[in-house]
Symmetry: C2
Subunit: 413 residues, 2 copies
C-alpha cells in the first residue's frame, strides 16, 4: 500500500532518535534509578489502595479529585510532615505541588525560568536527565567543580562574578546536596550556608533536588538547604521513586506560595495520576518510615557486595568513595579507559552502565568515570556483572592488569 | 524577612497567570470533562488492583515495569482489542503508546510535528485544550467550518489549496469525528472517506481524537477514520478519562510503528503512572463493556434532564441538537448574548459554563454559544443550575423573555 504522507518532511527538526524496540532488560542492569524488586510492599499497597478508594474513590470522577491543582491534599500533608521530620523543613501542605515524578518538577522549574540562550549553574557532575533537559531547551548548563563537600561555594561565587561582568544573569543553581548524583556525597551544613550566602549575594535562586536523601545508611544528615532558607531563595524537589517505586510517577516540589501557584498554572496535564497519589498517601502514612528503614539495609548490603566485587575484579584500578546512602557508586578508572566505549562494549555483553560524560556538564573530566547502580540487581547479578565488566574492560583497555581469576582471588584473599 | 531574589525578573515571559487558591467546586459545575461520582466502580477497582499487584507488583521496581517505553503490555493489548471491537480498527499492541491522558497525546503530536509559526487545521469549533496548546507553541490553528456531518471536506480542500498556493504546509488536520467536541455530532462514514481523500491529496496527516467515542446512547457509529485508513495517514488517540475516570491519567495514541517509536522517544517522562495502567488493564478486561453500558444510560438520563431544564427555563431562546452520546451539549443563544460575559456572571452565582469562544478557532462565530457538561452534576443540580443560569442570562441580556416561573411552567405544560 502506498504511503501518501511524507512524514520525514513534516516532523520537527532535532527530534531524539526513535525508541528502539523493547528487548527486555539486560542481565546485569547497573543503570537507571531502579530499586529492589523483592522489596516492593505489594500486600501493604493493596490494603492501602482498598482503604483509600473506599474513602475517596468517588472523587476520581473529577480532574484533580476534590483537592484542586496542587494534588491530593492528604499526600501533600504527608509530604509536608515527612520533610519536617527528615529534612528539617517547616512548611505547610499549601507549599507542596505534587508532580508526575521529580522529572516533571525539573520540567516545571525549567519552563518557568528558562528561555533558549539562558544559563543555569549545576554541579560539575550531576544528573544526566537534568543536563539533557536543559540542553533540549537551548539552555547552557555551566558546571561548578565538586569537592568531598559538594559544590565548591568559592568557585560558584567566582563564576557568578564572571557572569555578572558579562551581564549574564543565570536563572538558578541546580544542586543535589544530600546523596549527590552521581558521587553520593552529602554536603555539610557549613557548605550549605555558604551556598545560601552566594545565592543571596547574586540574586540567583537555588533549586535543591533531594531525590535520594531518604536513603541513608545512618539516617544522619544536615537539614535541607530549603530548611536553612530564611529568604525564599530555595525551590526544593523530591520523589517517591527511590523510596517506594520508580514506576509510580509521583514527586513533589516545594516553594514559596507565589511560585507554587505559578507552577500549578504551568502544570497543564490534567493532574498527576490520582490513584498513585491516593495509594501512596495511605501507604506512606502507616509504612513510610519502616519501609525506608528496610530498603536502606538492603541497599547497604548490595553496596557492600558491589564494593567487594569491584575490589576483587578491578583491584586498585577502580577508585571510589563508598557513599553514605543512595543507589549508585561513582567509579573512576585510569585515564586509559574511555567510559563511553566501555559502556558500549559492556552492553554487548549484557552489562549496562552509565558512562561518566553523560553525568557531567563537561565531558572531559568524566571521560574515565562510570556510575554503577546497585538498587535493582540481585547480589548474585552484581557479582557476576562486575566480573563481566572487568573482563570487557581488560579486553578493551588492558586493565585491570590482574584479570585472571587466580590473581583476582589473591587480591582479596 | 527580606526577599533577596527578584523572581519577577527571573521568570520566563508569557507564563500563564498563577493558579488561584483552591476554593472547591461550584455548586453547579457544567464545565470540564468530569463524570458521574456515583458511578465510580470502587469495589471492582479495589479487586482489580489487588489481583494485578499480586501478579505484577514487583515490577513497579523498574521504570516502565517490564513492558518498555510504550506502556504496560496488557493494557496495550486491551486497547488494541477495544479499538478492534468498538472503533473497527485492526491494530497490534505494538502500535499503541500509553500516554498520561489524551492531553499528553496532543502534546506528543504537537511536539513531534510543530514549530513556532506552523499551521494546523482544526474544526471551527473544537476542544479548547487543543487550541490553547497549539497557540502556546506559537502554532496557528485554522478552523474549518462544520455542518451536521462534521468538518466540511470541501472547505478543507479549498483551505488546503489556498495554503498550498501560499507555500504553507499544514502539519496535520485535528478532528474529533465521533461525538464532536463541542457539538456532539458523529461524522458519517462518507464524510470520513472524503477527509481521507483530501488528506492524501495534500499529504497532510489526520489526527483523530476519539475521547468520547465510547459513550454512545445506541452504540451505533461508523468505523474510526483510522480504521478506514489504508495509507498510514491517520494518528489516532483516545482516553479512559471519560469512560472510567478523569483523575486516572491514562490515554493512548495509535499510529504506524515508526511514528510510535518516535513519540516514545519524545515521551521523556519516566513512563505513565504504572499503578493506574495496571489497575485499568485488569479492571477493563472484565468490566469495560458493562461499565460503559451502565454509564451511558446514566449520561443519557442526565442529558434528558438538562434538555428538559433548558426548554423549561429558556424556551426557544436556547437552540441545540441533542447529541447521540458524550457528556456535553452545545447551546446557541440569540446574538444579544455574549457568552463570555454570561460565563463570568454565572460563575459569580455558582454556575460554571464553558463560553463558546474558548471552544472556537475564531471567537466571533461562537460569541453566543456555550458548552454545558452534564456528566458530573446530579439531576437536581442540573435542574437548579440551569434555572440559575436562565436568571443570570435574563438579568444580563434580557432573555429568556419569559423568565418568570409561571410562564416557564406554561411553556412546558
Amino acid at each position: 500500500m502506498a504511503v501518501t504522507i511524507d512524514y520525514a518532511a513534516l516532523l520537527a527538526p532535532d527530534l531524539p532518535a526513535p525508541a528502539p524496540g523493547w528487548q527486555g532488560r539486560p542481565p546485569y542492569n547497573f543503570i537507571g534509578g531502579h530499586v529492589d524488586a523483592a522489596s516492593m510492599p505489594v500486600e501493604d499497597m493493596i490494603a492501602a489502595t482498598a482503604a483509600v478508594l473506599r474513602r475517596d474513590g468517588a472523587t476520581l470522577s473529577t480532574y484533580g479529585l476534590e483537592s484542586g491543582p496542587l494534588g491530593y491534599q492528604p499526600l501533600r500533608e504527608f509530604v509536608a510532615a515527612k520533610l519536617g521530620k527528615r529534612s528539617g523543613m517547616s512548611i505547610s501542605a499549601d507549599q507542596v505541588l505534587i508532580t508526575s515524578g521529580s522529572i516533571q518538577a525539573l520540567d516545571l522549574v525549567n519552563g518557568m525560568f528558562c528561555c533558549p540562550g539562558d544559563t543555569v549553574l549545576v554541579e560539575q557532575f550531576t544528573y544526566a536527565g537534568a543536563l539533557s533537559r536543559l540542553r533540549g531547551l537551548g539552555v547552557t548548563p555551566i558546571g561548578i567543580p565538586l569537592d568531598e563537600s559538594g559544590m565548591r561555594a568559592d568557585l560558584l561565587a567566582a563564576k557568578l562574578a564572571e557572569l555578572k561582568a558579562q551581564a549574564i544573569q543565570p536563572k538558578f543553581i541546580y544542586v543535589i546536596p544530600t546523596v549527590q548524583n552521581p558521587d553520593g556525597s552529602i554536603m555539610p551544613e557549613a557548605r550549605r550556608a555558604e551556598l545560601l550566602e552566594v545565592s543571596a549575594e547574586y540574586g540567583v535562586p537555588i533549586f535543591e533536588d533531594e531525590c535520594y536523601a531518604d536513603l541513608l545508611w545512618t539516617g544522619e544528615r544536615p537539614p535541607a538547604i530549603a530548611a536553612m532558607d530564611r529568604r525564599q531563595q530555595v525551590i526544593h524537589c523530591g520523589s517517591f521513586s527511590k523510596t517506594i517505586a520508580p514506576a509510580l510517577r509521583v514527586g513533589y516540589i516545594v516553594a514559596e506560595p507565589n511560585l507554587v501557584a505559578q507552577m500549578a498554572a504551568c502544570k497543564e496535564d490534567g493532574g498527576t495520576g490520582a490513584l498513585e497519589q491516593m495509594m501512596l498517601s495511605e501507604y506512606c502514612r502507616g509504612h513510610f518510615d519502616d519501609h525506608v528503614a528496610k530498603v536502606t539495609v538492603l541497599l547497604k548490603e548490595k553496596l557492600d557486595v558491589m564494593i567487594e566485587a569491584l575490589e576483587e575484579n578491578f583491584g586498585t584500578t577502580a577508585e571510589f568513595t563508598p557513599p553514605p546512602g543512595g543507589i549508585f557508586l561513582w567509579v573512576t578508572f585510569p585515564d586509559v579507559v574511555d567510559a563511553t566505549k566501555l559502556a558500549t562494549a559492556a552492553a554487548a555483553r549484557g552489562v549496562t552502565i552509565n558512562p561518566g560524560p553523560d553525568w557531567s556538564a563537561d565531558a572531559a573530566p568524566a571521560r574515565s568515570r562510570i556510575r554503577l547502580c546497585f538498587g535493582n540487581p540481585t547480589a548474585d547479578a552484581i557479582r557476576e556483572g562486575v566480573k563481566v565488566l572487568a573482563d570487557v574492560c581488560h579486553e578493551e583497555f588492558g586493565i585491570p592488569v590482574r584479570s585472571a581469576n587466580v590473581e583476582r582471588n589473591r587480591l582479596t584473599g
